[in-house]
């Protein structure tokens, strides 16, 4: 991390700062640095006849803070459930005896001003929270502090900062923002924010993500390093801040944003249309997600289901693996929200070493794997840690009555794995029946095709599963023997490698020969250059980031199926990836000028 002297205001052009990206999106704008005055804890002694007035003044600030929260709560859209719940907990904190009664008692007992008494009450609360071992609960002190800070502001007559007062787009910089500050940035000139404090699981980060407001946290000394008026580019995905960007870079971001806005407006009309070609050939366009928080976006952008729910989040979100009940709750909501559309849940797809390191105490010998990509991961790990796997299967099957469930098994490389999984599923089903717990009859079980052996054996596997989902990211890595993260070989990672295209085609044919649907969920699915080829190969479903769906749908709706098939066939006959790219560069802009007019 760059860390210049605090006095250094002449930060050179293009210099960057690295923080934690907590809410994706790239924006360029001038910053407004909000510095909180720290003089609020001044102490003064009150004459006896002023004490009740001071208590009233404090009560007035508490009431005003509560009214603000209620007002904010009323304006919130229903789909911001996380934000609503956070505001409710802040409302309770504002009424809490440890905060309110204690402060009033301190005012009366010590004849001191409200600010001082509240500071004392707060430090007592902090002392209690500091003793808590559980980091998740201890972290809630940040919320208490946000709530108290607003009361301090109201006591000193301070209004909200320029959260919405500016006309020009701005990026706000502060030590920290409360979740409510973040909500107030919605529909204002605030295009993003960055803070010194915070982490990816803070309530502020959660709210920023649900609003789609780009945000970076954890940049130490940001309020000293940046000055109001500084122009920056903020990348809420990578966490990178570029100070005083070069004109070309700035223009690129601004032009990109302008195009995005124009495109977004134009794409709006496609959201509720069916995803089919001009001649009525349909391809299901579904979404890849990993948390329930993304569901509003899935619905908003018109996905027709979840093509890939990465189930790892629940497993990395606590100090212990999740309970069956916790998983059940996640899956129930997922299925119920998406019904009647299908939801494909991929079972735990992690490397064993990474996973077990988080929950220490056993299996220490697993700590280092020489070849993690070829090691105990994904389905192999689930078959190794069977109790964990059974618990996930139980939760999935129990949730199945709430919608349309498809269970997706990752990294299947041999038929024996599939047989083992099926035996476990049968046992779990018998168990659930014995306990009188209902399971839907139409649950489908499918497998990821992402290992070359699965492609070669696709005809055999097709007889054993209800669907195939091709995972191109891993398939490319495993078939081309390329680690994308390795800078020396990353250039060889090539989706248009004819071997990759042929493997996709082979998988589709094997699936269709057995009448099972074949989907594809990798970055290729959402790439306008790749998608036409994939559609032409006959894939039944493409699963991608929710926000990309309208764009791919527009493309599809301007296509004719025979054109797509012809392009796919030509691509399959190419001898190398450059030929594929040339072919597409020649044909696609000609056929679909709307999509490719930018070149």
């Amino acid at each position: 991390m760059t860390h210049p002297d605090k006095e250094d205001n002449q930060i050179p052009s293009g210099r960057s700062l690295q923080g934690i990206g907590v809410s994706p999106g790239i924006v360029a704008a001038t910053v407004v640095v909000l510095k909180r005055q720290t003089l609020r804890t001044g102490w003064y002694h009150l004459p006896a006849d002023h004490i009740e007035k001071e208590v009233d003044r404090f009560a007035g600030a508490i009431k005003a803070a509560g009214d603000e929260l209620l007002h904010l709560r009323e304006k919130l859209a229903d789909d911001l459930a996380d934000a609503l719940s956070i505001i409710d907990s802040h409302l309770l904190m504002l009424k809490d005896r440890m905060m309110v009664e204690r402060t009033m008692a301190l005012i009366r007992h010590n004849n001191v001003n409200a600010e001082w008494a509240l500071t004392q009450a707060l430090s007592e609360i902090k002392e209690r929270f500091d003793r808590i071992d559980d980091p998740y609960i201890r972290e809630r002190f940040a919320d208490i502090k946000h709530v108290a800070d607003r009361v301090f502001d109201l006591l000193s007559g301070r209004e909200h900062g320029p959260l919405s007062g500016e006309d020009q787009p701005v990026i706000l910089v502060a030590n920290d923002f409360s979740p409510e500050d973040t909500l107030r940035m919605q529909a204002s000139s605030v295009h993003g924010f960055l803070t010194e404090k915070g982490g990816i699981t803070s309530h502020t980060a959660i709210v920023a993500r649900s609003l789609g407001l780009p945000a970076v946290v954890g940049i130490e000394h940001a309020t000293s390093l940046l000055t109001t008026g500084d122009l920056i580019i903020l990348d809420g995905g990578s966490g990178r801040i570029t100070l005083h960007p070069e004109p070309e870079e700035l223009q690129r971001v601004q032009e990109g944003n302008r195009q995005d806005r124009l495109l977004a407006e134009e794409l709006e009309q496609y959201i509720h249309l069916v995803s089919e070609t001009v001649d009525g050939f349909t391809v299901r366009l579904s979404a890849n997600i990993e948390t329930l928080g993304e569901l509003p976006a899935v619905l908003r952008f018109g996905s027709e289901g979840i093509g890939l729910f990465r189930s790892e989040f629940d497993y990395f979100n606590g100090r212990r693996p999740p309970s069956e009940e916790q998983l059940l709750s996640t899956y129930q909501q997922l299925l119920a929200t998406m019904a009647p559309y299908p939801v494909t849940v991929r079972t735990l797809d992690v490397g064993g070493d990474k996973f077990l390191n988080r929950f220490p105490g056993n299996k220490a010998w697993l700590d280092r794997e020489r070849n993690p990509a070829l090691g105990l991961r994904s389905i192999r790990f689930s078959l190794y840690e069977r109790d964990l796997f059974r618990s996930q299967l139980r939760a999935l099957l129990r949730a199945s009555v709430h919608g349309r469930l498809r269970i997706l098994l990752p990294l299947i490389s041999a038929p024996v794995e599939l047989r083992q999984v099926k035996a476990i599923v049968a046992e779990v089903l018998a168990e659930l029946a014995g306990e009188g717990l209902p399971v839907a009859e139409d649950v489908e079980i499918g497998m990821m095709v992402e290992v070359p052996s699965a492609v070669v054996m696709a005809d055999v596997f097709a007889a054993e599963v209800d669907f195939f989902a091709i995972g191109t990211n891993d398939l490319i890595q495993y078939s081309l023997a390329i680690d994308r993260g390795n800078q020396y070989v990353a250039h060889l990672y090539e989706p248009f490698h004819p071997a990759v295209l042929r493997m996709i085609q082979q998988t589709v044919e094997a699936g269709h020969a057995r009448n099972i649907p074949v989907s594809l969920c990798g970055e290729m699915a959402g790439d306008p250059l790749c998608a036409p080829v994939l559609m032409g190969m006959g894939l039944d479903e493409l699963s991608m980031r929710p926000a990309v769906v309208p764009r791919i749908k527009r493309l599809l709706r301007h296509c004719r199926s025979e054109e797509l098939r012809r392009i796919a066939q030509q691509a399959l006959q190419c001898g190398d990836s450059d030929q594929v790219r040339d072919l597409l560069a020649r044909q696609l802009p000609h056929l679909y000028p709307r999509e490719f007019y930018q070149g």
Partner: protein, 94 residues
Amino acid sequence: MRAEQVVVIGNERGIHGRVATRLAGMAASHGVHLFLRHGEETVECSSILDVLALALARGTAVGLVAEGAQAESALAAAIEIINAQDDSDHDPPG
């Protein structure tokens, strides 16, 4: 009326912010006083900070005491909340 029961916390993350928020809301809507008893300490659920400060982890046994006209139904709702899961956006009725 008074109803009480000892329950073992089933929620994966124990009684955290969202659960504490719901307990307080439910107690208010039922018009009852709801208390959590753990070891020597008894706290009223109307104070979210008191409840959080107990740092009740999963597997902990706590006494739940509801006092008021609707004590029985409040107690049942409280148990449901305590055992419901983190990310549920659906509050139990009441």
